[in-house]
Each structure stands twice: as C-alpha cells, then as structure tokens.
C-alpha cells in the first residue's frame, strides 16, 4: 500500500557512499596458483587470529570465535567449546554469519527522506545531520506530547542500547514482536501454573529426558541450537519422541509416535491425555498431594474428555491417545511436554499452554531431571547512571485490556499510533531497531495506517529491509562482527557470561548501536546516562566488578559461573514451593480465575476453511532466520525462496505440479505480491498448506531476496487476539490458489 504521506522509497543506488567495495560474485579459492599445491597454509589457524563474539543471527546468542585470515578478512566463525548455548557447534546461520558482514547490499550511509520534484527520495547524509535531525524531532515531540509518545519497536542486542536511551529520556513505550507475536502465550500459561516464565533458552532437560512431547514445535527445523543438540542426544539415548503436528516435521519423522492432528484441535488432545492419566491411575499420587493445587477440580473438569471424545475432534485414534499417554506416564518425571516457542496460533493460546503446563504438573516434570531444570542466570551490575525518570504512562497502559500481558504489545503500540484507533495515549514517533515490522506483524493494514500517521519514523538496521523504505531517517548499524555489545548473560543450567568484541572495523559508514544511542542521548540532553567514550569501558567496568576483566574475557570468550540458587533439580520427595498464589503447581489457576478467565482450559472449536480454501500454516527453516538472513549469500545458497507444501491429493484436484507457481488469495481477498512455487509432498495434510516465513521481499535492493517466494504475513489478515495477554493468533487464515493476480501478471 503506497501512502501519499510516506511513500515507500526503493533504495536504488543510494547509500553506497563511503569506501567502494569491489564485490565479485564468485568467492574464489585462495592459493590456487599456477604451480602451487592444494595444501594451503592460509588455513593453518596458528597464523590466523580469532576474536570472541556471540552470534546475533537469532536470539539463541551462541558464543563463538570469529577467525580472520592474514589479510584481516573474516574467514570463518566457529563455536566456543565452553559455551552451554552451543558446545562448540554453531548452527548453519551462525556458521554463515560472515555473510551478513560481506553482503554488498548492506546499508552504507545514513539516509534522510526528502521530497524532490514531487517524488519522495532518500538522500545520503552525514551522521551529524541525521542525528541532529532525529534529536530535533524527538525533542519537539517530547516537549509537545511527552516523551512517552515516542515508541521503540525492537529485537535483539541493539535493542538494549535503545531501551536504555528511551528510559533515559523518559519513555517506556516499547514493544517487541517476540512477545505478542511469538512466545507470549506460553509465558502467561506456564507462569499461571508454575509461577515463572519459561524464558530463553527454554529450561528443558532434553538430553536426559525419556519422553519428549512436541505440540507443533518443530525442533530441527527451528535451529534452537542446544535444543537440537540435546534432541540428538535424546535420540542416541533411545528417548521416545511424540510429535503432535498436522505436518510431518523433521522432529515428527524421528518420533516414535507422530500424531497427525487436525489443525486447531490440540487442546482437545491435551484434555483427553489428562483424562487418561487421571482416570487410568497413571499418576504419582504423592506428588499430586504434596505439590499441586486444584487436582479435584481438574479431575471433575476432564471427566468427559475421553479419548473417544477427542477422536471425533482431532482425527487421532483413541488407542493412539492412550498409548502416548502411557509412554508419558512411564517416563515420568523424566518427561517434557515442550512449551514450544512461537505459540500465537488461534487466540486461545494461553489456555493451550496452560493445558501443556498442567500435563507437566501432573507428571511431575517441573524441577526434575529429564523434565524442566531449575534455571539460573547471572545479573551483572549495571554501569552507573542517574536514576531513570518515571514516565506518565508506559506500555502497561497500552496493554491494560490484557491483564496478564507481561511485556509491551506491539500491536497496541501500533494502534496507539493511529489517531482514529488510539485511546487516551497516543504515539507520535517510532524508532525501529533490528526488526522488520513489515514482515513480523500480522494485520499489515494496521501497520500501514500507523506508518502513514506517524510524525516521525527512524529505522536502525544493517540491511535495506522493507521497513527501511518507509523511514524518515535510516541509520546503518554495523553487524555484530564489527562491534562491542552488552555482555550476554542468559539463564541456563549454570550461569555463564559471554563477550562480544569486534573482529573487524565497521564497514562503510556503519556504526554500532551503542554509539548511535549515545549520540542521540547527548543531543537530547541525557548525555549523563552515557558516561563513557567507548562501550568497552562499560564492559571492563562490569567485568571488574565480578572479579574478571575485559582482557580475560577477550582471551576466553565465555566464562561459566557457579550456581548460587541451590540444586538444579528438586530433591526426591522434596515439597515444592513455587511463586504462585498457592505456592504449589496450580492445576486450577487462581490467577486466571481472579481475572475472570477460565481457570482450567476448555476446548473451543475454531473456524475451518471453506471449500477451495486451505489453512495456511508456516514455520522456520534451519538455515534461515526469516528476514534477517534472506539476503545472506551463504544461506541463500542453501535456500533462496520458500515453496508451498501441498498434499498430492490437493495438487491432483487442482492440476498442479511441483515447481508450478501460483498466487495465494486469502479469505479476505488479499493476494500475495509475488507468486510461490508449489512443492507437492506427502508431508502435509490435505486441509492445509505450509510455507516458510520470511520470504517474498519487496525491496529491490536486496539483490538475493527480492521477489523470491511469497510473504505469508500478507495473508495473515485475520488476527485472533488472546484476551489473556494480547497474543496475536495467526493461524486462522485460509488461502486459495490463483494463476492470475489481476494485475496483469500471470504466475
């Protein structure tokens, strides 16, 4: 949708100021001289240097070593053996991370939107000018509407620098797609049961489990590094894997039981499992008595949810339901009903996650070996800065319709940016960093209207993603390989810290996120919150406080610390004391009841596709992180577009063959911008089609990603919002296939 107010500007030929880079499209071998041998000394690591870093290609943040060759170029990135996120093995995206650095399509200079001959274009600008303009606009909005009206939409490590900046100048209006569009429902569901969030990485003790149950989770296609590694270990140990998925995912193909469930009926299956476990006496009643609250209510609640009842709804035979329940009971407490990660599906997702949490609670896996370990993190002391001011309103006020929302809801920030939709709090400007909101947020209609209405839009990114074309000011950030960032300190079995340091200087005119935040901060009068010249000073100070130093971390990369919070697991027979209202595992959720929601999950049928339409389901590929890697040459070599998985029966019905291209049209009449190639495969049900998310890019400057595949976000116009925490369910969208998209372009 092209708005007259803010036109999408195709970045063509601009942003190429700065050092000219001769990017040849063929990477050639070193040392293949006329009389040279094929034993090439350049690969002798003893001559190369290595710098510690942690990966930014996805949120797993595996620590690794960036190896440079004797020309100072990045040769390869290997994992850090001591890192509990990756154990020395990076995933394909991390291994291919140097492609982000080498990508000649990168943003190179700051860009400012201006009107020229009636058209809106970007012109290159100096950092001074760009930063001055941003500060001027932000200061103006702060004076007129309040700092709260400036919103931050973020993802990843650079987001932390800008969150600090925003809190410094008085705004807590923040949102990240990773919450409401992704894992939000499971945090609310598990918190209502066990009193704490799942968090990242998930504290699932997969390597020691005897039974791993995946509800739609596609470990192996999602490359959650240590989860995949541990699943492989579980396979080696002969663990039983049960996968509930309408599609034969990779994990399903390695499962002892694959339950090819009818989409949108998972809660029925989960309830019937509870029925079997309870009524066939498969539970440890001591554990139930000592550690749970609300068993009697639950028992009554699931009385009629028999496997026979579930069979009608889910298409899974009763004996399969029973067999899998027996497997889980046998393995208990070394059983994991995996919470999944992207769980915003149908709008009742918190309740589905509640059902999964209840099953874990019944089987006693929380805090047990082979179930969920008791994770521990490490909080580094904050670099000293003045206290943050108190904003008059925050993201909480925007999310007040959703009682259990634990983080900013992006769609509410977006809604508040549209004058007709906003409530009493209005958002006037955005700073978007590290997230391509044109692809990550469903209901693009809302996003487009918001972008149109904003007074000012700043985008900080490394690549010319779709959102960049709508910015007023574009700031090129350098990649993670070229900068310092905060110390990584995530929760795990043992706490650990990891250092990120630059292996090469920033390319072109790009700058690190911390520098950009500091520069804006100084221009907005909050320079005292950035009392350092280089971010390495902050890191050194923090590390000195805990008995380490920047020098030590530069040498070792990762430091594993001792646990302080007690044992990794509850002791045998130990009575749990959890941060819930009752102190126990809440099978009946007092928190949900208090807020007026169902204290125990119910099955509600969801909409089904009409004739000729198919449910659109989407997922990940192990070699991509959606938009972020869609242009990375190493990874486009592996997969450069998505395809539409279609059951052979459906293909026969429509007369389609593999590699044939079609446009998708959804139930609201929206048609995809680009066609997609069909893959006829037995791996998918006949009532659904599947595609990988993150393709179909519209920015021509992404030379390897432009026009490749189709964008599923365009098809997600029917958003089912979870009333408990505001999650945006995306799987109730149905598509049909057309050859002619009505714009004169035939597939």
């Amino acid at each position: 949708m092209i708005s007259t107010r803010r036109q999408f500007i195709k970045i063509s030929g601009l942003g190429f100021g700065g050092a000219a880079i001769a990017a040849s499209s063929v990477k050639l071998a070193h040392g293949a001289g006329l009389f040279g041998s094929d034993d090439d000394e350049q690969f002798n690591d003893l001559k190369n240097k290595r710098f510690p870093t942690y990966c930014e290609v996805c949120f797993w943040k595996c620590a690794g070593w960036t190896h440079t060759n004797d020309k100072g170029e990045i040769q390869k990135i290997l994992g850090n053996d001591k890192d509990p996120h990756c154990y020395g093995r990076l995933c394909p995206r991390g291994t291919g991370g140097l492609g982000m650095y080498q990508d000649e399509d990168r943003l190179k200079t700051p860009l400012i939107r201006e009107e020229k001959n009636g058209k809106q274009v970007f012109r290159e600008a100096s950092w001074e000018e760009a930063l001055d303009l941003i500060a001027e606009k932000f200061n103006k909005i702060k004076a007129e509407d309040g700092a709260e009206s400036i919103a931050l939409l973020k993802h990843g490590t650079p987001g932390k620098h800008f969150e600090h900046l925003f809190e410094a100048f008085g705004s807590e209006t923040v949102g990240e797609p990773a919450y409401a569009q992704c894992r939000g429902p499971r945090e609310a569901g598990f918190a209502a049961t066990f009193g704490s969030w799942i968090g990242s990485p998930e504290p699932t003790d997969i390597r020691d489990t005897k039974c791993l149950v995946l509800i739609g989770s596609h470990i192996g296609e999602n490359m959650h590094n240590s989860q995949v590694q541990e699943m492989a270990q579980a396979i080696d140990n002969g663990a039983c894997i049960i996968t509930v998925d309408p599609r034969l995912s990779t994990a399903a193909s390695k499962s002892k039981f694959w339950l090819p469930i009818k989409p949108a009926t998972d809660i029925a299956l989960l309830l019937s499992w509870m029925n079997v476990l309870i009524y066939e006496d498969l539970l440890d009643l001591n554990h139930i008595k000592d550690n749970t609250y609300g068993f009697e209510q639950l028992k009554e609640h699931v009385r009629n949810f028999t496997p026979e009842w579930a069979y009608n709804i889910t298409n899974i035979k009763p004996d399969q339901i029973r067999k899998t329940a027996y497997e889980m009971a046998n393995a208990a407490p070394a059983v994991i009903i995996h919470p999944g990660r992207h769980v915003a599906w149908y709008g009742d997702d918190t309740q589905r996650e509640r059902a999964m949490a209840i099953l874990n609670g019944l089987l006693g896996s929380w805090g047990k070996r082979g179930g969920f370990y008791l994770k521990e993190g490490f909080k580094l002391p904050s670099y000293p800065h003045p206290a943050y001011p108190h904003p008059k309103w925050t993201w909480r006020d925007l999310a007040k319709d959703y009682p259990l929302a634990g983080m900013g809801l992006t769609q509410e920030v977006i809604r508040a940016s549209i004058p007709e939709e906003a409530g009493e709090h209005k958002v006037k400007a955005w700073l978007v960093v590290g997230t391509n909101v044109k692809k990550s947020i469903p209901h693009q209609d809302l996003v487009n209207r918001a972008i149109e209405a904003l007074d000012f839009l700043v985008v900080v990114d490394t690549m010319p993603m779709d959102i960049v074309g709508f910015a007023d000011v574009v700031l090129p950030e350098c990649t993670y390989l070229e900068r310092y960032d905060g110390i990584r300190s995530a929760t795990n079995r043992e706490p650990s810290i990891a250092l990120r340091m630059p292996a090469v200087p920033p390319k072109y005119e790009s700058k690190p996120g911390w520098w950009i935040a500091k520069q804006i901060g100084e221009r907005m009068g909050v320079g005292e919150y950035f009392d350092y010249e280089d971010f390495s000073e902050v890191l050194d100070w923090q590390l000195q406080q805990i008995g380490s130093s920047l020098e030590e971390m530069q040498d070792i990369g990762v430091k594993n610390l001792k646990r302080k919070s007690g044992s990794l697991y509850f002791a045998e027979g130990e009575k749990v004391n959890l941060p819930t209202n009752s102190g126990k595992i809440e099978l009946y959720s007092t928190e949900l009841a208090a807020k007026g929601f169902d204290p125990m999950p119910k099955y509600t049928p969801h909409a089904e596709p009409e004739e000729g339409f198919y449910r659109l389901i989407y997922g990940r590929a192990p070699m991509h992180t959606f938009s972020r890697t869609a242009n990375n040459p190493h990874l486009t070599d592996l997969k450069d577009k998505n395809t539409l998985w279609m059951n052979p029966k459906v293909a026969k019905l429509w007369g389609f063959e593999t590699d044939e291209e079609v446009y998708l049209k959804n139930q609201d009449g929206v048609i995809t911008s680009f066609p997609i190639a069909i893959r006829v495969t037995e791996r998918i049900r006949w009532d659904a089609v599947y595609m990988i998310h993150g393709f179909g890019h519209t920015n021509k400057k992404l030379s390897r990603a432009y026009g490749k595949g189709a964008c599923d976000t365009e098809m997600i116009t029917n958003v089912k919002v979870d009333p408990i925490m505001g999650g945006t369910g995306m799987r109730e969208n149905f598509v049909t296939f057309i050859k002619d998209n009505g714009k004169g372009t035939k597939a």
Binding site: M623, T636, L638, K639, D640, T681, E682
Partner: protein, 313 residues
Amino acid sequence: MKEVLFASGRNIPNVDPQLHAWHWPIPVYLFLGGLAAGLLFFASYYTIIGKEKEMPAVTKWAPFFVPIALVVGLGALFYDLTNKLFFWRLYTTIRIESPMSWGAWALMIITPLSFLWIASYFKEIFPNWSWKFDFLEKIMDWVTENRKVMAWILLPMSIILGIYTGILLSAFNARPLWNNSILGPLFLVSGLSTAAALITWISKDAHERHLFTKIDLVLIATELFILTHMFMGFQAGPSVQQEAAFLLNGGEFTVVFWVFVVILGLVFPAILEISELIGYKVPVAVPAMLVIIGGLVFRFVMVEAGQITRYLY
C-alpha cells in the same frame, strides 16, 4: 509418492539437474577420431599388402582427411577443457588405467605420422614439389621409400584410436548407458564404416568403389548386429540399464536414434548400397553422406543420453 530432492539448494552448473559436463566438442571429436581411425586403418592395410597402386583413393587421397579431422577434433577437445593452460600435463605421464591417457599418447603418435603420410605423397601429386632443405629431402625420400614402416605402426595404432573412444566411455561405470563392453567394438566398427563410406564417395576407381561398398555393407551389418546385442545386454541388465535403454527406445531420444542413426544412417544406406551392387544407378554421395551423418548423430546421442543416465536419484 516418492519424493527425492536436494534440501540444501544444490544447483551446480553442468551437473544439476542433469549431468551435462561434456558438450558438443566431445561427440564431434569422437566422430572425427573414429573416421580418422578408419581411414588410417584402410590406408595402412592396403599399403602393407602392397595394393597402393590399385587403391589410390584409399592410400593416397583419403588420408588427406585424416590430419584435418585430427586437428579439428583435437581443437574441439582443447576448446572443451576448462583448465586449458595445463593441457601439457597430459604428456608428462602415461596412466595405464585411463583410456584418455592412451588416447592422448596414441594421438601423439598418430597425428605426426598422418602428416608425414600425406607429406610423403606430395612429390607424387605435385611433381615440382621441393622440401627446400637438404636434410628434409633426405628424410622425406626415406619415408616415401619406406611407407610400409609407417603403415605397420599405423595399423595397430588406428585400431587403438578407433576402439579407445568406446572403451573410454564404457569405463565410466557411473553412466549405465555407457557401461557395457560392447561399446568399444561398436565405435570401432562405426568408425571403419564411416571411413569406408567416405572412401566410396571420393574414389574415382570403379573397382575400388565396389570393394569398399561391399566392405561398408559388411560393416553396417556388423554394426546392426552389435547394436542389437547391446540392447539385449541392457534388457538383461540392472534396472538402471533398462532405463538407459528406454531413453533410446521409447524416451526422448527415440526419434533421433531410430530415424537418423538406424534407419537413415544404417539401414537405408545399406539398401542403397545393395541396389548399387546389383546394378542400379545410385549417386554414390547419398549413402556415403547418410552413413557419415549417421555416425556423427550416433555419437551425439550416446554422449547426451549417457550423461542423463545415472545410478542415484
């Protein structure tokens, strides 16, 4: 349904989706090599048994095609190399297990000898020809006197040249269409046949023409017999070979193979040649040209189809 695909985006030029590493230069060379081999075989045989005077086309005129064919053929091969600067490495070693190495060395011997052969006839054809240098005159005189020595060398070498191209292909056990032991003799016979056809075309002597028409007929019959044998071998072989045979016998190469190679390249010329022998007036160029073109098309079909056949996927 069975689905096999590359999940890592593999798309190597000339290998995916189907192998196509050898392009037109290879069948061109195979054809020219076979033709040259046949011409040299007949030339040296008839020289050895002392029939040079009676067979002028065979021993004097036809050999003029040999250096041209070899130079063009080798030029095509050189053009096909992807690492041309290192071509001389071929001549730094002999690898017994590599038919291509035999070929390289055989050509190393045959090519200069074929130049010498036609050079030895220059004085006969151009009476005023002089070799300019004294030592050259002496050498050429000796050569012309002792043409039989060259013939004795060229006789086995020409057989090697004719047969090694087939053996080269049949040594690729990865390509089911080629991997049969009949291919060597088949290529040799085909080469001899094209040579015989060329000789009938250029010969001005009726007796010579007649003889070689008969020889060509025998060779065509032999070729048809070997082809039948080859197909029977495919049918009796593993499924990959049956699929390979299907390419020629029902698949995409059926028309080209049966029409241009078998009917127009073998059967029809044979009929024409028989009619000629019986007494009908047939323009000699027609069957000769058909046999020669048939030989070329046959090489193209074998090289193209062979690369498509495979064991995996």
